[in-house]
Amino acid sequence: MSATKAPPAPSPNPEEPRQPTLRKPSTRKRLVPYWLLLPGILWLLVFFALPLVYQASTSVQTGSLEQGFEVTWHFQTYVDALRDYYPQFIRSLLYAGTATILCLLLGYPLAYLIAFKAGRWRNLVLVLVIAPFFTSFLIRTLAWKTILADGGAVVDVLNTLHVLDVTSWLGWTESNRVLATPMAVVCGLTYNFLPFMILPLYTSLERIDGRLHEAAGDLYATPATTFRKVTFPLSMPGVVSGTLLTFIPASGDYVNAELLGSTDTKMVGSVIQSQFLRVLDYPTAAALSFILMAIVLLMVTFYIRRSGTEDLV
């Protein structure tokens, strides 16, 4: 990986310097970054960017699996896909948005706790946040089936507190059921993407100088004011990247909707998956996937502009 291990550049300069300690930047040295970049960037161009081009072309093809597909610039596919599947699109954005807000509300106190209050427990709590990454997330999602089961403890408690009456009235649950309802899907999404919110939040909170809090206190700010005027604004980079890291994957996810939901809670990811792998209607599947990408990229760009943090990575 070292500069010298890179294959020698086909230098136009016949007098290739042999001494690597030479001060003047030689042609060979100027080419070093390109040799370092080449394999990785080529990989991304061939297996990330090029596929998107193929997908764009697939989305304007017509034909069938037997007779083969052909590019006919059939943009009607997009119109049809949107008309047929707009409920799934709206649902995906709604569920992903709700899960993101819940992640922020749940994740912020925990990130704050780790950054400022955990003391010598900090490492243990961090491990408990990261460890779920290493247990298969499908297994953990299946565990929610047990937790939210009809007649289980959670449903019983919610029933006793009459919470389910309210949520059923709102359409989040069905009478006496949580599993196979929107609430179960949002619960699963929130759970699965919570670490992606907590870690960026923690990173940006940890960077805050504790003396700023003291200074705010010295200036007679109440803890609430300190949080509103000092801590929260300074944690904005974490809030922004956490929100994106939660919302983007959640909007395309179909695992939670399939495992914890019902046919009424299908998200757009499920549709793309079944169009591609079961129905084998490639043009529609490609169009759906492109629309999802466009929506997400537009929302992300708008959000980054609004929140005013350009440097995320």
Binding site: L106, N123, L124, F134, S136, Y191, I248, D253
Partner: protein, 267 residues
């Protein structure tokens, strides 16, 4: 009311611990249900205590095969993504060159895209090329999506590195190879290790991209997915529990070593 006042003063701690409980709850359920003896094909309801699954973790057809396949893919994907990603990260931090912005965007985009979009577009590429779906297509896909995460992790570490340390090594007549092996690599190692660990976890756990590009090859997450329809054997919970325990132990041991080193360095 002193209790109310105590709750108000510790509101953040209480809320944080509740979130932590929410995050750990499924892991506990997985653990508890690994000792279950279910009636029928699904392991969702508690019946009675049994050690059967722990005695015979590979007693389910094809499960351990899929597990070892996932480990192999994760190993090679980690290796590939870490090597390529570290090179890219060094180039981005250490050199100024044209198209730097465009390359940064290319690195960022795979992380800013729903997984299903990448999965589907990669499938259209493989279908158009007539590639045989299986081990190699999955490996290619995993290296692709792990790459960006490795670059980000390594970049963060290399950026905080003091370039004067390398200059000092050169001033002491260390050759470029020696400087890299003795100075640069050890300092960058924690970043590279973090990137590799992340890549391993992401690859081992990936379902969506694998589901699209694996053909009839079954990785462990795909086995679990299939079992959700056919019937979930208790052994899945055993594997999940074992993974959790191994991960927690590894991270704790790693932190212990790191803190030892830190206190050694101080004295």
């Amino acid at each position: 009311m002193p209790v109310l006042r105590w709750i108000r003063r510790n509101l953040i701690v209480i809320a944080g611990l509740l979130t932590l409980a929410y995050m750990i709850l499924p892991n506990i359920v997985v653990m508890v249900f690994s000792f279950n003896k279910p009636n029928g094909r699904f392991n969702y309801e508690w019946q009675r205590f049994s050690l059967d699954a722990w005695r015979d973790p590979c007693g389910v057809a094809d499960m351990c095969g899929s597990l070892s396949l996932s480990l192999q893919i994760a190993f090679w994907a980690t290796l590939g993504a870490t090597v390529l990603g570290t090179m890219v990260a060094f180039a981005l931090v250490r050199y100024r060159f044209r198209a730097r912005g465009a390359i940064s965007s290319l690195i960022f985009l795979p992380m800013a895209m729903p997984e299903v979009v990448m999965a589907a577009s990669l499938l259209t590429l493989f279908l158009n090329m007539g590639a045989q779906l299986g081990f190699w297509t999955v490996l290619i896909a995993h290296i692709m999506f792990c790459l960006s995460f490795v670059v980000t992790a390594v970049k963060a570490r290399v950026m905080s590195m003091d370039p004067r340390l390398e200059e000092a090594a050169r001033d002491l007549y260390a050759g470029p190879v020696q400087t890299f092996v003795r100075v640069t690599l050890p300092i960058a190692a924690p970043g590279i290790a973090a990137g590799a660990l992340l890549a391993f976890a992401l690859s081992f756990d990936d379902f969506i991209i694998t589901n699209f590009n694996a053909g009839s090859t079954v990785t462990f997450p795909m086995f679990v997915w299939g079992s959700a329809q056919r019937g979930t054997p208790v052994q899945i919970n055993v594997i999940g529990t074992a993974m959790f325990i191994i991960a927690v132990t590894m991270v704790l041991v790693g932190q212990l070593i790191a803190s030892r080193r830190k206190s050694n360095a101080r004295t």
